[in-house]
Assembly symmetry: C2
Homo-oligomer: 322 residues x 2
């Protein structure tokens, strides 16, 4: 089976690179460092590479301090692990390291994976790459240390949204049960990933939520984020990345909108829906796209213009569907 | 074993009452209705009682519509299940039904449980009563229907804070895995319990977070809730029950304070800490109490007076401990 083939390569080879997609998230960070820690424990040489600055919220992960920023070089590796990456273009700069590798091992859970590796361990039923790595380690008889368990827990808890997304299965939970039995402080990890906020985020949340408007019998929520708010709160756009959920989580709301002012003549719009409105369709009317329940677009005009454009479309939409 | 003894009573008896503590939470609601649905499926007569108005957020639970508000009567039951209740005084009015029962079965997970039942199934290692009820049902060979699974999932996810509290064990997760295999929409239940907010809550959150103050190098956060805010947002105190976490979740904060104005001369104060400050001690200085990490007290004075009193104490405290 493919897991034992990968196990054999790990035994045979000595120098490894580990890469993942740009803008690494909890699953990519956790699974890269799980593989890294395992290789190190077996006396192998391994480098973990990222393209850009590291997300500091994962600094508690074992091995975080050893992660390197990739720069084009002639260094070659016997084996490259590519994790949580559906196609090689999502690797950004790090794609370069694949050109000088004997073996590329592609481990992923995206259904769209292009199977670009020499070996492809792709399971779209897995909640996360962390879940696949756990099984890879178990099949090969590796001991799951507390350090590795912390990495894999981070992967799984991140990609399942704290075990609430429908990709969570009884297999996922059984794996997590095994991980927490290593005595990791999972409560602390959970808080670090989901709850810890900066002062800037709280200030910004207060300002953004104060703009809340509801329309069409509370079925549409609109929140506004201006450049001025970001300045006043010493915040950046990342600090606002979850705010659209505030509008979406209001009980009667079907469509949640977050309008971010890009400049005086242009706004970035995020759209979410709960049950019956196809927001990808709405976004596409403005040249944007996305999924049925989560989409985005850029609309020309100032905030008031953009709000009016969206409300006009939504008015027709609600009149048509209800 | 006690589970089979309880199973025998369920078989032998015909009329059951099911009660829990006042101000029922997710664990009490879920476990009461799990037992109710099981008894009904066995052709038994069962009544679920609460003392006060039902928390509507649990209205999705199977059997919710059959729950009755207790009123003193002479009706007697062969068997009363008391769930999630450490002592009988926490039953409020519903305590009365125990006086006319042949058998009282006490199922709980509080370490302080006074073992007041004829049969006491008390396991302080269980995350929730839902977890204990699951095991009771399994030992007796009951089929876990989708409806019952929804109730038990609600119990467990509530008392573990979405599987993030340290009371979550591999046993908990293995049970939850079994429950979600019944095809319940656990993602939807999770959202209903933790994420759905009312418009009043969002408006109130915006106002309360706009009062955020940080002191002592960001180690102390203070949030204010006034009577006026409640009025303006058409909200009640319950809507603000989680707001102290906003202050606590700021990364550098050790002590989070929420000051609720009761009237012009008195405030209710909630205190939380993360790692080293004993907030029960601080609360006790004002005649209040609680736990090391979560406590409360009432302080005479207007909001500014109360803030000053707390900051004076905290100043000494930080000078002493750091």
């Amino acid at each position: 089976m493919i897991q034992t083939q990968i196990g054999k390569i790990i035994l045979d080879k000595n120098s490894f690179a580990i890469v993942s997609h740009t803008s690494p998230d909890g699953d990519s960070m956790g699974s890269m460092l799980a593989v890294y820690n395992q290789l190190l424990s077996m006396g192998k040489n391994a480098d973990v590479f990222v393209e850009e600055d590291l997300p500091m919220k994962y600094s508690f992960l074992s091995g975080f301090g050893s992660i390197k920023k990739y720069s084009i070089s002639n260094k070659s590796y016997e084996c490259v692990f590519v994790l949580d990456c559906g196609d090689i273009d999502r690797l950004g700069l790090c794609k370069d390291v694949l050109n000088r590798a004997d073996v590329v091992i592609n481990i992923d859970h995206h259904i769209s994976n292009t199977l670009f590796g020499h070996l492809n361990l792709v399971d779209s039923n897995a909640s996360s790459v962390g879940e696949i790595i756990y099984q890879l380690f178990k099949v090969n008889g590796y001991h799951i240390s507390k350090e590795i368990a912390g990495c894999l827990y981070t992967s799984i808890v991140s990609d399942t949204g704290g075990f609430k997304y429908s990709n969570t299965t009884s297999i996922t939970l059984s794996i997590v049960g095994d991980l927490i039995n290593t005595n990791i402080d999972f409560s602390d990890i959970y808080n670090k990933i989901f709850n810890v906020k900066t002062l800037s985020q709280i200030k910004l949340m207060s300002k953004v939520t104060s703009t809340l408007e509801l329309h069409f019998d509370n079925r549409v929520s609109i929140l506004i984020l201006t450049e001025n708010m970001l300045k006043e709160c010493n915040a950046n756009e990342d600090d606002a990345s979850e705010f659209i959920n505030i509008g979406r989580d209001i009980e009667e709301v079907e469509v949640a909108i977050l309008i971010k002012e890009k400049n005086i003549n242009s706004c970035r719009v995020s759209l979410r829906s709960k049950k019956y409105v196809d927001v990808a369709k709405i976004a596409s009317m403005f040249g944007g796209g996305g999924h049925i329940r989560a989409a985005g677009c850029t609309i020309e005009g100032n905030i008031d213009d953009v709000k009016e454009s969206l409300l006009t479309i939504l008015k027709n939409y609600f009149n048509a569907v209800i």
